[in-house]
């Protein structure tokens, strides 16, 4: 290559700041007159709020205001696809982590003290925690049109004819766990009103421009009045796509005309951001004696939790990637995103394409064992190449380096790839 800097490894442009501790994360910002916000969250996964009394907290010296749903001037909700996550719960909670209110006080200690004085009473509602249960007619309905938020079908060829051609068939169920992005820097933001009267927030986010849209919508102001400045971001992995502190801090700063800082502790961080979808995956795959895949049937059910976030896109991605990087002529996949009263799930590194490998890569090994083939061999014989057609009928007209990755990895383990092909 004739390039000079592309392909090299110069020091990170933000590197010197980061190794010397100078890089600014939102929690590192201290503004004159700054006050502190503390969120109070639900105690129940599904309940009516029958009483919300903030008077004791507001009476505590040093408390400036307690913000609740009544204080949201614009749309009381946010979300990457559909704004169904309440800024503050309005009479009802759908998940245990729903924000009830935000206490703003002169110091973090006072805000925390006051948060303990918020008096909330609930009337519990029936809840459902397993997406397979939630799909049943008898399950408590979390949405008017049922709990199934999304269903995608993939239909290619004829799976029954495909299985009839198979010499071996493997059938197996799998379940992935709910996991957390666990980035090192807990959520934090500092909002202030600048000299122009514009609302400015310094925050670690994955998408400042969408945050601006959602902040403006919730605050009922025009987008040019909102400025989102991305500080150094302490890891994200999908966990900073849905917003956390942004609207709360901006609302408080707009009303109080003071800089407002919100910093989550680790426990609140776990509660506030999305999780990876646990998926139930039932697979059936057939292959011929020479290791060629002929049919795949899969049902994938993802737990969307209480709010939509990216669930349709994630279960779509799961379906599209359900076959693995292998050519299979006959495919039938049903993929569902289902609401429950669990914490909401959303983006995390891999975004729905991360769960199916647990199933399809186990099955490749299971088929190989039955056929007395090496794991490399069965993969090699079915691997996508340039020009291959995927289960959705897409022709891979781009660079397809799958086989090279197989060869390179296998060689480093000392496998005799020429024999194994």
């Amino acid at each position: 290559m004739h390039e000079r800097i592309v392909g090299q490894s110069p020091w990170r442009v933000d590197g010197i700041a980061k190794v010397t501790g100078k890089a600014v994360f939102p929690q590192d910002i201290y503004l004159p007159g700054m006050v502190y916000g503390k969120t109070v969250r639900s105690k129940y996964p599904h309940a009516k709020i029958t009483k919300l009394d903030t008077s004791k907290a507001e009476a505590l010296p040093g408390v400036l205001k307690v913000f609740t749903a009544r204080d949201v001037p614009g749309h009381n909700g946010h979300g990457v696809l559909h704004p169904d996550i309440p800024v503050f719960a309005d009479g009802k909670v759908t998940s245990i982590n729903d924000a009830i209110c935000l206490v703003v006080a002169e110091t973090q200690d006072i805000a925390e003290e006051a948060a303990l004085l918020i008096d909330v009473e609930y009337e519990e509602l029936p809840a459902v925690f397993d997406p397979r249960e939630a799909m049943k007619e008898t399950a408590p309905k979390l949405r008017e049109n049922g709990n199934i938020a999304y269903h995608l079908k993939i239909r290619k060829g004829d799976v029954e004819k495909g299985f009839a051609l198979a010499d071996v068939i493997v059938e197996q169920s799998f379940k992935t766990s709910m996991v957390d992005q666990a980035f090192l820097q807990p959520e934090a933001g500092v909002a202030t009103v600048d000299e122009r009267g514009h609302i400015v927030i310094y925050v670690a986010t994955q998408y400042p421009h969408w945050d601006r849209t959602e902040i403006a919508r919730a605050l009922g102001v025009s987008q040019n009045m909102v400025r989102v400045v991305t500080t150094a971001v302490g890891g994200a992995f999908g966990g900073r796509e849905d917003m956390t502190v942004q609207i709360h801090a901006c609302l408080a700063a707009m009303v109080l005309k003071r800089p407002v800082k919100i910093v989550y502790d680790r426990s609140e961080s776990f509660k506030a951001h999305s999780k990876r979808h646990p998926m139930y995956m039932d697979y059936r795959v057939g292959a011929t004696r020479d290791g060629k895949l002929v049919a795949l049937e899969a049902t994938i059910i993802g737990d969307a939790g209480a709010y939509l976030s990216w669930s349709p896109n994630i279960l779509r991605k799961a379906a599209v990637h359900a076959t693995g990087p292998y050519y299979i002529p006959n495919v039938k996949v049903d993929s569902y995103a289902v609401h429950t009263n669990n914490p909401f799930t959303g983006a995390m590194r891999g975004f729905g394409a991360a769960q199916p490998p647990m199933a399809y890569e186990a099955i490749m090994d299971m088929l190989a064992e039955k056929l007395n083939l090496h794991p490399f061999t069965i993969r090699w014989r079915n691997a996508f190449e340039r020009g291959s057609e995927t289960a959705t009928g897409q022709i891979l007209d781009m660079s397809v380096g799958l086989k090279e990755t197989m060869l390179e990895a296998a060689r480093r383990f000392g496998w005799n790839v020429e024999e194994l092909k």
């Binding site: 200690d109 150094a232 302490g234």
Partner: protein, 157 residues
């Protein structure tokens, strides 16, 4: 609020302040001295982002009461090197690609600094033990270990 006089050395400078009795060393460094290179990642001594050297030894400043550091010597990341004059460990972190989001980096650098002071020629395994109290979610640690090895070589020269 109960206040007490706290006197300690931070990055070689004697500091004397009246501060509340209920704050942690981490809070003192960040909120009072604005030495914000010391990060809070978990507040329970599990992640090491708040690592500082207390009398030369790495500790989690989120688990040390500020007044416990009275009369002692504290070194934070700001005391290791500056953008104009990087410490060889800091240079090595940049050269080896040991930095991604950077939130664990100050703690990692301090853990490495303490290790190399005691053991200028550590094995990879010894490096891993020395940074085992510092969680990193971005790098998978491999390049951090590379960086500490590189720093040992640089300093050894």
């Amino acid at each position: 609020m109960e206040m007490k006089k706290l006197s300690l050395t931070v990055n070689g400078k004697l500091i004397e302040r009246e501060v509340p009795t209920n704050i942690r060393l981490l809070d003192f460094l960040r909120d009072y001295l604005h030495l914000t290179g010391t990060k809070e990642g978990c507040g329970e001594g599990e992640c090491g982002a708040c690592t500082v050297l207390l009398d030369g030894k790495p500790v989690n400043s989120c688990l040390v009461m500020a007044h416990s550091a009275h009369g002692r010597e504290v070194i934070t990341i700001e005391g290791i090197g500056t953008p104009d004059k990087l410490h060889p460990i800091q240079e090595a972190f940049l050269e080896a690609g040991a930095v991604q989001c950077g939130y664990c980096t100050p703690g990692m650098v301090l853990a490495a600094y303490a290790l190399l002071k005691e053991n200028p020629n550590p094995t990879r395994e010894e490096i891993k033990v020395a940074i085992s109290g510092n969680l990193c979610r971005c790098t998978g640690y491999n390049k951090i270990v590379d960086a500490v090895e590189l720093a040992a070589r640089k300093e050894g020269k």
